[in-house]
Symmetry: C2
Subunit: 187 residues, 2 copies
DNA sequence: CAACATATAGCGATATATCGCAGAACCTTT
DNA sequence: AAAGGTTCTGCGATATATCGCTATATGTTG
C-alpha cells in the first residue's frame, strides 16, 4: 500500500536557499535542547504517519498540531511524531484528494474526503499504527517515571535550593552518574 | 526610559477567538515539556528584551530566530528568550519606527533605522542586558554540569540499556531522588 | 540468500506568529 | 512606610511550514 503516487516529488528540489545554517554552539546544559524528551521513542516505520493521520481523521476532523498531540497521547508518549512529518503528510494527502483543509481562524482543520474514507476502509482490518508502538516494553515505563521524578527533584533544588544544598546535591548527582556508568559498563 | 508610549495597546484586544485550549494530558515523562531547560534562567526584567534586541541589531542585522540564539549564546544559555517575547517585540519596535523588516526569501531580516540608532546610543553607557544575567552565581554552573552529565547517562541507559540494566538504573535513580529530597528537607 | 546500493519517509532544526497566564514593577491607599 | 491592587512584560504553549540529514525499507546483484 501507499507505495504509489508521488505525483510531484514534494520536496525533492534543493532550490538553493543560501541559508548559512551555522548551528554550532548549543548551550551548556542540554536537556530540552537535544531530544531528551523520550528516549523510548522509536522512529516510526514507513508510511505509519500516513495511515495514522488518515485513521485519526476518520474519527474526527482535526488540525495538524492536534494530530501530533493525539498521536503522542495514544501511544503513551512513546511516539511523538514531529511537525516536520505531520505537516508535509497533510499537504501530500490533500494533494492526493484524500483529505480537505478548511481554514477556520488561524487554524486549518482537515477532514476526510470520500476517497479518504475509502482509503481508511481498505486498511480497517489492520491494527491502528499507534497501538503497535504503544505495546512496548512496560519496564521502560518504570524507568521513565523514576527519571522523571529525579528530574523534578533536581529542578526543585536548582530553583529553590541554597548554595550549600546545591553543593551537596552536586555530589549526589555525580555519584548517581558514576553508578549509572558502572551499570552501563557491565555488559 | 522606554516606559513611555504604548500607542495602540498592541495585543490588548481579546477579540474572542473561540479556541478550546484543552491542554490536559501532557506526556508522562516531562523533561523537555515543562521548562526543565535551565532552572538557573531568571525571567528577564522589564524591557530587557527591547534593549537587548536593539543592541544586537546595532551590531548586525538579524532575523528573529537568530536573535533568540544569539541572546542565548551570549548569556551562556542562562537567558533563553522565548519566541513569544521576541517576535512581538520586533513588531512593536517596527511599529515605533526604530527598526525595519526586510523580507528575504522565507526570512525577515531586521535592521535599525536612524531613530533606532539614536535609541541605542542613548543607552550605550549601560552594560549589555545579557551581560548582567551571564554574571550569575558561579556555584550554579557546577550543579548544572553535574545534572547535565547525569542526564546524559540517564539518556544513554534509556536508549541503549537492556531490561536488567534499566531495572538497576531505576533503583539508582530512585535512591538519588530520595537523597535530593533529604537535602531539600534540611533547612 | 546475503550483501550492497538506492530511494524515501520521518525527524530535528529552523523560522515565524499569536494567545493566555504568571509574575515583576509600579502606583495608590491606609 | 507597608499593604494592597493594577498594569504590563516576558514566557510557555499553540500553530503552521520548510529544509536537509538520517535511518529504514525496498530492490538489485553476485
Amino acid at each position: 500500500m501507499h507505495g504509489s503516487h508521488n505525483d510531484d516529488g514534494r520536496c525533492r528540489n534543493p532550490h538553493a536557499h543560501g541559508a548559512p545554517h551555522g548551528h554550532a554552539h548549543t548551550f551548556p546544559f542540554g536537556m530540552a535542547a537535544h531530544g531528551f524528551g523520550a528516549f523510548g521513542a522509536q522512529r516510526a516505520r514507513r508510511g505509519d504517519i500516513r495511515d495514522a493521520v488518515l485513521r485519526l481523521l476518520s474519527e474526527q476532523p482535526m488540525h495538524g498540531y492536534q494530530i501530533i498531540q493525539e498521536l503522542s497521547a495514544r501511544s503513551g508518549g512513546t511516539w511523538s511524531p514531529s511537525a516536520g512529518s505531520v505537516y508535509p503528510t497533510l499537504q501530500l494527502l490533500a494533494d492526493e484528494g484524500l483529505i480537505i483543509a478548511e481554514e477556520t481562524g488561524g487554524k486549518k482543520v482537515f477532514s476526510l474526503t470520500e476517497a479518504g474514507v475509502a482509503a481508511v476502509a481498505a486498511t480497517a482490518d489492520q491494527p491502528a499504527p499507534w497501538a503497535e508502538v504503544a505495546a512496548g516494553d512496560p519496564s521502560i515505563a518504570g524507568y521513565r517515571e523514576a527519571a522523571g521524578k529525579l528530574m523534578h527533584a533536581v529542578f526543585q533544588l536548582g530553583k529553590n535550593g541554597s548554595a550549600d544544598q546545591r553543593a551537596a546535591a552536586t555530589e549526589v548527582l555525580a555519584d548517581a552518574r558514576k553508578k549509572l556508568y558502572a551499570i552501563l559498563a557491565e555488559d
